[in-house]
């Protein structure tokens, strides 16, 4: 049984549909990516998955229908989203941001201390800046903090919305190495990216989304060489 499954999920803003009849699944231990151009509905899909937007259809997580559950409950169940806008607590310290990440397991003092140590090992730059306010961090450090904060919730499944957004190539590389390394923690990942190459090299399986629907899907290794991909991004006629 998949860990997270979308079954004919739709998302609308008033009468305007942003996502139409999307079905896809993430198995435990898998990294699945959804790629596609801006305005394709990728962010709406993740926002609905975490419950910040209402959706039609059915979303199941860890065997339970979560379509109508509130966001906070989904987080408690082990679903976590790193949103496109990061949504950090900008005028609080790096340390406090991470501490609040562990809000859902606030009784577990020892566990929190241990995981905090692990996060600082994984992101040495955050350790150096633990007293600094999150709002003063650079773009890459913010993304690392957002990732670290999400990891502190101890998620079973982590959803990442455009983790490469606005970052320099070297930093993107660093971020994707980290994402790939999360596999060893046993975290499953649903990754939304427009940096198709990086995403497909990291993922097991990919879906290409356009104007609210999934156009084609396949194992990441096959998709990456699919001529349709380059035309989706840079235009031209190779795929037609």
């Amino acid at each position: 049984m998949p860990l997270l499954a979308f079954d004919k999920v739709g998302v609308s803003y008033g009468k305007a549909e942003a996502v139409r009849g999307v079905s896809l699944a993430v198995e435990t231990g898998q990294i699945v990516t959804v790629i596609g151009p801006n305005g394709a509905g990728k962010t709406s899909l993740l926002t609905a998955a975490i419950g910040l937007l209402p959706s039609s259809g059915r979303i199941t997580f860890a065997g339970e229908n979560v379509t109508r559950l509130e966001t906070e409950r989904r987080v408690e169940m082990g679903l976590s989203l790193v949103p496109e806008q990061r949504e950090l607590f900008t005028d609080m310290s790096v340390y406090d941001n991470l501490l609040l990440g562990a809000f859902v397991r606030r009784g577990d003092k020892a566990g929190i201390r241990r995981d905090m140590g692990e996060i600082f090992d994984r992101f040495p730059r955050l350790a150096e800046r633990r007293r600094q306010l999150a709002g003063t961090l650079s773009g890459g450090e913010r993304q690392m903090l957002a990732l670290g904060r999400a990891l502190m919730t101890k998620p079973k499944l982590l959803m990442l919305d455009e983790p490469s957004l606005g970052l320099a190539p070297l930093i993107i590389r660093e971020i994707f190495v980290i994402i790939a390394s999360l596999r060893e923690l046993g975290v499953s990942i649903l990754l939304v990216e427009q940096n198709a190459k990086a995403a497909l090299e990291t993922a097991d399986f990919g879906h290409v989304m356009e104007t609210g629907e999934i156009n084609h899907s396949g194992p990441a290794g096959e998709l990456i060489n699919d001529p349709r991909l380059i035309s989706t991004y840079l235009g031209g006629n190779e795929g037609e």
Partner: protein, 347 residues
């Protein structure tokens, strides 16, 4: 005006301002966490004073009835909404939070009222009795429109204030009260008499502001409040429920307002409707702080108190007019210093 009078007025003003500081901090706290501009905080302060006075006169405070009614209503509304959304499992928890907990102080006061209660216990009872009011009102009044605009929330908040004033008269009656002084010590410093009560007020303001600061700085609950205020979506993604942090904010704000009510009751005669002016002057302080900054709010509230003290000396009839008039330069300053941030007021 001699310098002695000026010094006296300043000290008097600082004491008055310290009262406004407590209420204003509560206003800013609630606004940043819930976006509600909670106009009835002044009423909460007045009701605390009236409750304390009733206990002092060995009567049952009207607050008992008010809290009981609100608790029953909130329980009904919450239970109905839980049943409607198929969350019957959470009903016992709702009963505990909305019925049992608020009724504990009600029961205690019911039992103790009429007897000889020592002053510290009276204060604790009055405070305990007042605490549930704002969170219950939050559940009844603001929770159903939590997604509304700041302006809608404000309109409701103003309407709520008028409802509370009316209820205040029903539950407390029209008589003004003044409670027993907490201390009657007077010190003469440099020829100027300083009342112990004034010192007490200032010390209380400092202590409670300090406690608020410590709560934000050192406890996870405080940090989750701060986080909700900074970024609501971010907080929800961490599993922090804004409704719960809202409740904590209302409790804290009520505590601050309650303390200010207790401090002012021996100095000023309090009526069921005294809260409005008290609250509005605190608002002037909060507006100076832009409804976001705690330190600037505190300084602003002190300035309001000092201004009021001098205004009362110059022309007691126009003291309110003068105090509210400083809003104009304050807003002018705000509108030219604030970067053009705006909240989209779309439907």
């Amino acid at each position: 005006m001699t310098s002695d009078i000026a010094a006296f007025l300043t000290i008097d003003g600082i004491a008055t301002g310290a009262i406004y500081v407590l209420i204003a901090l509560g206003i800013v706290l609630i606004f940043t966490v819930t976006r509600v501009i909670f106009v009835p905080f002044g009423d909460i302060a007045a009701f605390t004073a009236l409750s304390l006075a009733a206990l002092e006169m060995k009567q049952l405070p009207g607050t008992v009835g008010l809290v009981a009614v609100l608790a029953v209503l909130a329980t009904l509304v919450e239970t109905a909404s839980l049943l409607r959304t198929g969350k019957a499992r959470q009903v016992p928890r709702a009963l505990l939070f909305y019925l049992v907990l608020p009724m504990i102080p009600v029961a205690l006061v019911w039992i103790a009222a009429g007897g000889d209660i020592p002053l510290p216990l009276r204060i604790i009872l009055a405070l305990a009795l007042i605490l549930p009011i704002a969170p219950l009102l939050d559940r009844l009044v603001f929770r159903p429109i939590a997604d509304g605009t700041v302006l809608l929330l404000l309109t409701v908040s103003v309407a709520l204030h008028f409802a509370l004033v009316g209820l205040g008269l029903l539950f407390f009656g029209p008589e003004g009260v003044r409670t027993e002084a907490l201390t009657d010590a007077v010190w003469i410093v440099g020829g100027i008499p300083i009342a112990g009560q004034s010192i007490l007020i200032v010390v209380a303001a400092i202590v409670f502001s300090g406690l608020l600061f410590a709560f934000f700085g050192f406890t996870l609950a405080g940090k989750s409040l701060h986080a909700t205020a900074v970024n609501r979506t971010g907080a929800r993604l961490m599993g922090i429920r804004p409704e719960r942090t809202g409740t904590i904010a209302y409790l804290l704000g009520s505590l601050l307002a309650g303390v200010s009510g207790i401090l002012i009751a021996p100095v000023n005669t309090m009526f069921y409707d005294s809260g409005f002016l008290l609250g509005l002057k605190a608002f002037v302080g909060a507006i100076i702080g832009g409804l976001v900054s705690f330190p600037v709010t505190a300084i602003g509230s002190l300035c309001v108190g000092i201004l009021e003290s001098f205004a009362a000396f110059q022309s007691s009839a126009f003291k309110e007019v003068i105090v509210f008039s400083i809003l104009i330069p304050v807003l002018l300053w705000r509108s030219y210093t604030s970067a053009h941030r705006e909240e989209d007021i779309d439907e």
